[in-house]
């Protein structure tokens, strides 16, 4: 599940963590990420295009289309889980050079990939729903964003459904003086915990990342590694390396 889920849901800075709605009506971002994920038993590459759109300055929709390739399979990239989500920003307090925002998020992933003969199918093989909250405080000096919620996945094993808690926390710091047009270098330290609610299985990740913003375009790269785990995590990524580009339209 996490090979395809944990990376693609981010929107706007920070790199891996979701963000409350920061753009206005009619605006959005297009993003393309390349990710290499290594788990204990198999490695995979992903090409992850995604697009989000603000219906107004309170409601945003997002579509993610991860294409997955298992390393060594001899197969090409196939579309794995299609992810759709929506956010509603219900709280906003703006001050000079600072903002606090809260948003509720709902999402769903649709398993669309074909099975490979001797490998786990691309994607998660399951349909999953996600509900959570995104909270963020950003100032000119630091950004702290939290994204917490629950995923409910169906048929994770034959006739077995499961609930996961997923929490992310990101701290980002701009390094350069603020200028306009924007030229900024941001560094991030992001963390993530995934906990299978009804089983002794949890993974904790840390992910340093860097992002260069040039006008309406951002180039970014990250390295994520699991630093602690409980129970069986054969299919959780141990480490993930990725980079990409996004722009505001």
């Amino acid at each position: 599940m996490l090979l395809s889920r944990s990376v693609s849901n981010a929107q706007g800075p920070p790199i891996l963590t979701e963000k409350p709605i920061m753009l206005g009506e009619g605006k959005g971002t297009v993003r393309l990420m390349y990710v290499y994920a290594a788990a204990d038993r198999l490695n995979a590459r992903f090409i992850m295009p995604s697009v989000d759109y603000n219906i107004n300055n309170r409601i945003a929709l997002e579509l993610g289309l991860p294409f997955q390739q298992y390393v060594g399979s001899g197969k090409g990239f196939v579309l794995s889980d299609v992810m759709v989500s929506g956010k509603y920003q219900y709280f906003k307090q703006d001050l000079q050079g600072k903002t606090v925002r809260l948003a509720a998020k709902l999402g769903h992933s649709f398993y669309v990939a074909k099975q490979h003969a001797h490998l786990r199918p691309a994607g998660t093989m399951i349909w999953g729903s996600y509900g959570g909250l995104v909270a963020g405080m950003e100032s000119l000096r630091i950004g702290i964003i939290g994204d917490f919620g629950f995923s409910y996945v169906r048929d994770i094993a034959p006739r077995i459904n499961e609930t996961f808690f997923q929490g992310k926390l990101s701290v980002g710091v701009p390094l350069l003086k603020h200028v306009f047009p924007i030229r900024q270098l941001n560094v991030y330290l992001e963390s993530e915990v995934t906990d299978q609610v009804n089983a002794r299985s949890a993974v904790f990740y840390l992910a340093p990342g860097v992002q260069y913003v040039f006008g309406t375009i951002a180039f970014e790269a990250f390295y994520q590694r699991s630093v602690a785990h409980i129970g069986n995590n054969n299919y959780y990524p141990v480490e993930t390396l990725g980079g990409g580009i996004r722009f505001i339209y």
Partner: protein, 208 residues
């Protein structure tokens, strides 16, 4: 010759810049250097807006409006809100240098340049007249201030030129029985005034 051409071009550029109307907005919530690009894109949808600059440190968004086009404050405030941020203040032209506050969400906020102050003659006698004259003037929507001086028979009034017409103020005062230098009160209404209020009529009052 080359130097002369450079000088001419510079003067023309400066002239064009002077002809544009500068606008300065104070906007809260701008903290994300990437996301604030949405502010510029949103403002750019107004074709008359040029030279947009955003300063995150001060929270100021500045731009110019093309020559000959009226500055629509509400439009730009709406654009900033639609961009997802809170506009706190908007100043146009000389207001930027004046240092005065110009809160975007101030109740009954009216840009200073639209307030007109004028004085005119209104006949009357006493304190009761003062109360009626001032009350009649203030009852006109857009009038911010009205003060009648019994000694000089002069009314000073401040009103929003976009909301009130001067003649409406004259008519309203005349309607309660007091002659102004432009509008004469109806005789019947004058006769109904209290005896102490029956002032000497203004022969110069012009009825409509």
């Amino acid at each position: 010759m080359k130097l002369l051409n450079i000088l001419i071009i510079s003067l023309l550029t400066m002239a064009a810049a002077v002809a544009q109307t500068p606008v300065q907005m104070k906007v809260d919530g701008m903290s994300c250097g990437f996301c604030v690009n949405g502010v510029k894109k949103k403002l750019s949808t107004a074709k008359e807006v040029e030279n947009i600059d955003v300063n995150l440190e001060s929270g100021l968004v500045t731009f110019t409006v093309k020559k000959g086009i009226k500055v629509d404050r509400k439009k730009y405030l709406d654009l900033i809100e639609k961009a997802g941020y809170d506009p706190r203040e908007i100043k146009v032209g000389d207001e930027i240098k004046s240092g005065k506050k110009a809160y975007a969400k101030q109740v009954n906020y009216v840009p200073a340049s639209d307030i007109i102050t004028t004085t005119f003659k209104v006949a009357g006698n006493c304190g009761m007249c003062k109360k009626k004259i001032e009350g009649a003037a203030r009852s006109v929507k857009g009038v911010k201030f009205a003060s009648w001086d019994a000694e000089t028979n002069t009314l000073t009034v401040k009103y929003d030129d976009k909301k009130a017409a001067l003649m409406d103020i004259h008519k309203k005062i005349a309607a309660v029985g007091y002659d102004t230098d432009l509008v004469r009160a109806d005789d019947n209404t004058y006769n109904e005034l209290h005896s102490c209020c029956q002032y000497e009529r203004l022969d110069a009052g012009k009825g409509e």
